[in-house]
């Protein structure tokens, strides 16, 4: 059962992200991004990482992409002045190289076949919570400081005049 | 003399080194405008330094080869670096040369240096700190610091107070010497770790290093690094092009110190560090270095012959004179090395005096081109007489100081390197040619240039700072005993130690082993890299 779901959601995720990358209008890309995020959340669920799937949906899809859309609306670049993008030489080279990277990813994946047993609750709320507040307490605190810095940074940058 | 206050006696050398530093610090607080005060203070300071160095020479015990007036204080103990200063037969007279020349040079700048007098004097005092430090340092680390310290003031002296192409020359001077000394630093560090590897104790002390047994292959590379650093400084043949530029564009005082003392740091370095620490490599590389020295002698003489600028001529003559000194050092016998040391002092005096004399002319006519002068002998007879005495001392006329040094070098070098010495001896002829030709074009003949007709002769101050030099020219020429006797013990000990260490190091290698095999593992199958330690 799981492989079928994996392939479905995998395909949705890949398709979504291709659409994000190729759309001319940023709003379209944003919407496709939401689709991709949901697909990834589904994958988390497949791997019993329910807590993370929830976080993904709420924080990521909910907050970050909304922020994107909010900024797109704010900037409100008129249709005509959107940069015209043709596949010039440099960009083509870039795509090739990215393809190369994907190929390498595949190679790595094929080589490191991990024979681990699927543990059920590795992603559950209780497990992640315990780890977060015991072993990785320091990291947890640091991220909070990071977020604080990000908030201040964003305000300072985007504010018209201080 | 021995009644000097006790603390001064035990720390005499440190006082010698750091008195000018204190002086420099004092000068900062003096008013900039009052040039006379600045000059007099600097003069008094350097004179005091000289007077303090006299007891060192007088109380120096010529019978032992050991370091005297030694002061050893742990400086950075965890790395085994100590502030270790001392003087022995080899460095005594170079120290005296430095402290002797400084007051004279300062006195010569009373009328020639007008702008930024304060900074000029501070740099001169810093220069003296560096120079005295180099000759007294016994710790490699301390030596390196003083070696680099000297560069900075000299760079500014040439760069700020120089003439026409001074920036180019200053940078060229700095880079040439610095490039060499960086290599030396690498060698010092290698030596430092090798000392640890062998004895398990970190130390950069020369005396500790002296007993060290260094494998022949490693010795080669270390000697090469040291030799290159000192070759830049001497300057030996291929690395000499910075000297004429530096001399031409340096102010008179700068080029006097540059020629009289800074060049000797190179030869002194060879004699104090490169040869004793790596005797096997030193002896094996002698043919190469001696040939370069002899090329330097002839090359310096030939090129000096066609110079149009007096200072450049004297600069190339320094290349020739120091070629002689190098030849003497690599004779590895008492005559050669004592001749070399004496010639270092002689060159300091005669070339220093030559530059002072050129400075006097430059002050009056603001040009150094030989073609601008002619027939001065009639206008300035006293100056002509001084110039004649110094030129003859530089040519190496017997009875004056140049001859004693040159003769001892050639006698010493004759036994090991017969053909080379004969070629070097021919350098004596060309020395006479280019100097007398210059003297004739400047002094003899009729007055061609109207501006020369009413040049004032040497005034009292100029005579005051030329006289001591002329006294030493005659003193060393007629009675060099006072100088040679103080060196005997140290030089004989050095020669004996080199020979002993060389025999020990070569005990294992098969007789008749070619140099290449010894140093480059050709045909030995040994796969280890030459610099592995």
């Amino acid at each position: 059962m799981e492989p079928i779901l994996f392939i479905v959601f995998g395909a949705i995720a890949v398709g979504g992200s291709i659409m994000v990358v190729t759309r001319r209008h940023p709003l379209a890309s944003a919407l496709y991004l939401i689709l991709t995020l949901f697909a990834v959340a589904a994958l988390f669920v497949l791997r019993q990482a329910h807590f993370l799937a929830a976080i993904q949906v709420i924080v990521y899809a909910g907050a970050v992409v909304v922020l994107f859309i909010f900024v797109i609306m704010l900037i409100n670049v008129p249709e005509s002045r959107l940069p015209v993008e043709r596949l010039t030489g440099v960009r083509f080279l870039a795509v090739i190289v990215a393809g190369l990277l994907i190929l390498e990813g595949a190679l790595v994946a094929r080589r490191f076949g991990l024979a681990g047993t699927p543990a059920a609750d590795s992603g559950s709320v209780e497990a992640v919570g315990r780890a977060l507040f015991t072993d990785y307490l320091l990291a947890f605190e640091v991220t909070s400081v990071l977020l604080l810095a990000a908030v201040i940074g964003a305000i300072a940058l985007a504010k018209k005049k201080i | 003399m021995t009644s000097l206050p006790q603390p001064l006696m035990t720390h005499l050398l440190s006082v010698l080194i750091f008195l000018p530093l204190a002086g420099a610090f004092l000068l900062i607080f003096l008013p900039k405008e009052n040039k006379r005060l600045l000059r007099n203070t600097a003069f008094v300071l350097t004179l005091a330094d000289f007077l303090l160095s006299l007891p060192v020479a007088i109380l120096f015990d010529g019978s032992t080869a050991a370091m005297q007036f030694v002061e050893k204080v742990p400086w950075i103990p965890q790395y085994g670096i100590s502030y270790h200063v001392g003087v022995d037969g080899i460095s005594l007279w170079l120290l005296m040369l430095t402290t002797f020349l400084m007051p004279i040079t300062i006195l010569s700048t009373y009328t020639s240096v007008e702008k930024h007098v304060k900074e000029f004097m501070i740099f001169m005092l810093l220069l003296e700190v560096g120079m005295v430090g180099v000759f007294l340092a016994v710790d490699l680390f301390l030596f390196y610091i003083f070696w680099e310290l000297v560069l900075i003031p000299m760079y500014f002296l040439i760069g700020v107070w120089g003439s026409d192409r001074r920036i180019y020359s200053a940078i060229k001077f700095f880079l040439f010497t610095f490039a060499g000394s960086v290599l030396m630093l690498v060698a010092i560090i290698a030596l430092y770790f090798h000392h640890y590897a062998v004895t398990g104790v970190y130390s950069t002390d020369l005396l500790a290093m002296a007993e060290l047994v260094i494998p022949v292959k490693l010795q080669f590379w270390m000697f090469a690094a040291f030799a290159l650093a000192f070759a830049f400084k001497v300057p030996m043949f291929p690395f000499h092009t910075w000297l004429p530029d530096a001399h031409v564009d340096a102010p008179t005082a700068g080029s006097v110190i540059l020629a009289a003392v800074l060049l000797k740091m190179g030869t002194y370095g060879f004699l104090r560090f490169a040869i004793p620490l790596f005797p096997v490599a030193a002896v094996d590389l002698t043919p190469l270095l001696a040939t370069l020295a002899v090329i330097g002698i002839l090359y310096g003489a030939f090129v000096a012959m066609v110079q149009k600028d007096i200072k450049k001529l004297v600069a190339y003559s320094s290349v020739a004179h120091l070629g002689f000194v190098m030849l003497g050092l690599f004779a590895f016998n008492v005559q050669g090395i004592e001749g070399g040391i004496l010639q270092m002092v002689n060159h300091g005096i005669s070339t220093g005096a030559l530059f002072l004399l050129v400075g006097i002319l430059y002050e009056r006519r603001h040009t150094r081109l030989i073609s601008e002068y002619g027939g001065l002998s009639r206008v300035v007879p006293l100056y002509a007489a001084c110039f004649m005495v110094i030129t003859l001392s530089s040519i190496g006329l017997p009875g004056l100081n140049g001859f004693v040094g040159e003769f001892l070098i050639l006698v010493g070098a004759f036994r090991p390197m017969r053909a080379l010495t004969v070629v070097a001896a021919s350098g004596v002829i060309f020395a006479a040619v280019y100097l007398l030709w210059m003297y004739q074009r400047v002094m003899f003949g009729t007055i061609t240039n109207e501006k020369n007709r009413h040049l004032p002769d040497m005034n009292a101050r100029e005579v005051a700072y030329m006289l001591p030099l002329i006294v030493f020219v005659f003193w060393i020429g007629v009675y060099p005993q006072t100088f040679l006797r103080k060196m005997d013990a140290s030089v004989t000990a050095l020669v004996a130690r080199i020979e002993a260490k060389r025999q020990a190091a070569l005990a294992d290698s098969p007789p008749g082993e070619t140099l290449v095999a010894r140093y480059f593992d050709v045909g030995k199958g040994g796969a280890d890299g030459t610099a592995g330690h």
Binding site: A98 | P238, V334, F414, P480, D488
Partner: protein
């Protein structure tokens, strides 16, 4: 008391040194202000030659005029006493060494400042101080109206000091000090009138050519030191037998040492090929030419060869070289002497030729004869030079013989003294020249190292000498006056201070030879006996050479040489007295040869082109091409290289944000690729 005087041997060189110090003090403090004042109001402009304005001679000049000669006179007196003290000693131990102070000492090398008096150096100091004293007195008159009077006597005293050091030195190093000292003084004195470019050039040329010789001498000293372990004469000569047995001192090394010493000698005594400086040295004042370039300095080479005779005897090849070079120089410079028109140049070439004789004598082992000729030559050549000096003085600076003539009546004393000297030099029997020159010719024939060809060359040269000497006398003193009218008006006999030395020298030229009359002519050769201890060792070939040659042969050869001399005189009389027009005819008929000989076989020009030009151009190339472009090229090249690399590296930073991302990606791909590669 007599023996005690030897302790004061150091006074002999010390007195002239005292003179130097006092005179230079006077020159600096008394003469300089006078000169500077004259420069100040531009009066100093006129030529430095024999200016005739008789200044009221300031007091300091009288002091110098007295002190200069007095010091050398006192030194002469001490020398005479010292020689007498030495003579009082028995023949075998006539050697006195006085060590003054340890001069150069380094490891095994010992060279104390020490003086040595033995028969050889006794002769030399007598000649140097004796003739020197007369020339000093003469100079007072000759240089009376020179402005830089004190400076002249400083140099002359310095020269005497250096020459005495040379002959009295007890080791090679002290001799070398004197050797270079006299070289310096000849440079200073030739260039005395430094305003004349030719004088300054001549001085420089003399010093450099001497220096070339000194180079050879220097290398010889090294070789001596490393073979004998010392530079002291007595030690070196004492060790010869021991070392030659042990094979340390092979003939090869002995030859090398002696040849190098001979190089030094040719430099100093103007033999081929290093004689070129002597004719130019005539630029100096005439007394200088007399003292330095006739009597004393040029003989230093002969003295040195004689001093090291023990070494030369070990190396027959170098003896041959010395003899051949001596003979060749004698004949070669004699031929040049024929065509010269400057009176002093003729005498200069005559000196070179006579020195050739002395070397010929040493070359054949007759060292005593060589030194004997050295002494007699010093007398009559100094007289000839001083005579020509008084002629030039009288003609207010005129030196060209073609503008002289009929001076016989106007300068009687000069004429008679010079005539005596000319007779002596031509080898007329009875006079000193005959005895010494004939002795040399005889020994060159009869001695072990001698050879008939050498005798023939020597005799031919003697003939030519007689010819050009009498040509000089006829042109200068006989015939009608060819002088310019205004010069003729001023002609006057020189003052007594100049003529008295001439007379004394004339007496010496005549009597000088009598102490060396060979047995063949019934006299007992005191001179040879006096020098025997110095050359005693193994001069079997020369000393009593007459043994295996019959007396008759000796007379025959003597007659031969006198005959040749008379022919020379006759030819000169015929050409320059009887038919004055003939010389021009002969010159006209063979112009090529005449010009070549007149221009001294173009030797100077050849040297200049072959050596001097080449060195100068080579050095210019070395400086411009090698130093400035090659080495500096590398140095500046490195600088340019670094700047160029910087320039290119700058382009990598494109500024386009996209390219940064791309390079980032590239890096990642490469790293991952690298990881998964093995």
């Amino acid at each position: 008391m007599v023996g005690g005087i030897l302790q004061y041997l150091w006074l002999v060189p010390a007195l002239p040194l005292l003179g130097v110090i006092v005179n230079s003090a006077i020159a600096l403090f008394a003469e300089r202000p006078v000169l500077l004042r004259e420069n100040a109001h531009g009066e100093g402009g006129h030529g430095a030659g024999d200016a005739h304005g008789h200044h009221a001679s300031p007091p300091y000049r009288k002091l110098v005029a007295f002190l200069g000669p007095a010091v050398v006179g006192a030194s002469f007196a001490v020398s005479v006493l010292a020689v007498l003290a030495l003579a009082a000693r028995p023949a075998h131990d006539r050697l006195f060494v006085q060590v003054l102070f340890p001069w150069v000492q380094a490891g095994t090398f010992q060279a104390p400042a020490a003086l040595q008096l033995d028969p050889l150096s006794a002769v030399m100091i007598l000649v140097v101080t004796g003739v020197g004293f007369l020339i000093h007195v003469y100079s007072v008159g000759y240089m009376s109206h020179e402005k830089a009077f004190a400076r002249y006597f400083v140099y002359l005293n310095l020269f005497t000091f250096a020459m005495l050091l040379l002959v009295l030195g007890s080791n090679f190093l002290v001799m070398f000090v004197g050797w270079e000292g006299v070289g310096l003084c000849s440079y200073l004195l030739i260039g005395y009138w430094y305003e004349k470019k030719s004088a300054a050039d001549a001085g420089k040329k003399a010093f450099v050519v001497n220096r070339v010789g000194d180079f050879g001498f220097l290398v010889a000293i090294f070789l001596i030191f490393w073979t004998f372990g010392s530079v002291d004469y007595t030690e070196v000569f004492a060790r010869i037998p021991v070392l030659s047995e042990r094979g340390v001192l092979t003939t090869g090394i002995a030859t090398a040492i002696t040849l190098l010493l001979f190089v030094g000698a040719t430099g100093k005594s103007a033999q081929i090929p290093l004689y070129v400086w002597l004719p130019d040295a005539m630029e100096g004042p005439t007394p200088v030419s007399a003292l330095i370039h006739a009597a004393t300095m040029v003989t230093a080479g002969v003295y040195m060869v004689a001093r090291t005779s023990a070494l030369y005897l070990l190396a027959p090849t170098s003896m041959a070289v010395v003899a051949v070079v001596g003979a060749a120089t004698a004949i070669f410079s004699a031929t040049i002497g024929i065509t010269q028109n400057d009176i002093k140049r003729v005498l200069a070439y005559s000196t070179v030729s006579q020195l050739g004789y002395m070397f010929l004598a040493c070359g054949v082992g007759a060292f005593a004869a060589g030194i004997f000729h050295l002494m007699t030559h010093a007398f009559f050549k100094a007289l000839l030079f001083l005579g020509s000096g008084s002629v030039i003085h009288a003609l207010s600076g005129e030196q060209d013989m073609r503008k002289m003539g009929s001076l016989k009546k106007r300068l009687p004393v000069t004429f008679t003294t010079m005539f005596i000297a000319t007779l002596a030099i031509s080898g007329i029997p009875g006079l000193s020249g005959f005895f010494s020159k004939d002795e040399i010719l005889w020994k060159s024939f009869s001695s072990g190292h001698g050879h008939a060809a050498l005798w023939a060359v020597g005799t031919a040269a003697a003939g030519i000498t007689a010819f050009y000497m009498f040509r000089l006398v006829f042109l200068t003193f006989f015939g009608d006056s060819r002088m310019d009218p205004d010069v003729e008006r001023h002609v006057h006999e020189s003052p007594y201070s100049m003529t008295v030395p001439l007379m004394l020298l004339a007496v010496l030229s005549v009597a000088g030879g009598w102490i060396g009359i060979p047995e063949a002519l019934g006299g007992h050769n005191y001179f040879e006996a006096w020098l025997a201890p110095v050359f005693g060792h193994g001069t079997e070939g020369a000393a009593h050479g007459g043994g295996h040659h019959s007396l008759a042969l000796e007379y025959l050869l003597m007659a031969g040489s006198v005959g040749v001399a008379l022919c020379g005189i006759g030819l000169a009389w015929y050409l320059y007295r009887a038919r004055p027009g003939v010389p021009k005819e002969i010159a006209g008929r063979v112009p090529g040869l005449y010009d070549v000989v007149l221009n001294k076989y173009y030797v100077d020009e050849i040297y200049d082109a072959a050596i001097v030009r080449r060195i100068v151009n080579g050095s210019v190339w070395l400086w411009e091409a090698f130093d400035a472009t090659f080495i500096d090229g590398i140095v500046n090249g490195v600088g340019a290289l670094v700047r160029g690399a910087g320039e290119r590296a700058r382009r990598l930073q494109t500024g386009v944000v996209g390219s940064y991302a791309l390079s980032l990606l590239l890096g990642a791909v490469i790293v991952v690729g690298f990881l998964i590669w093995p």
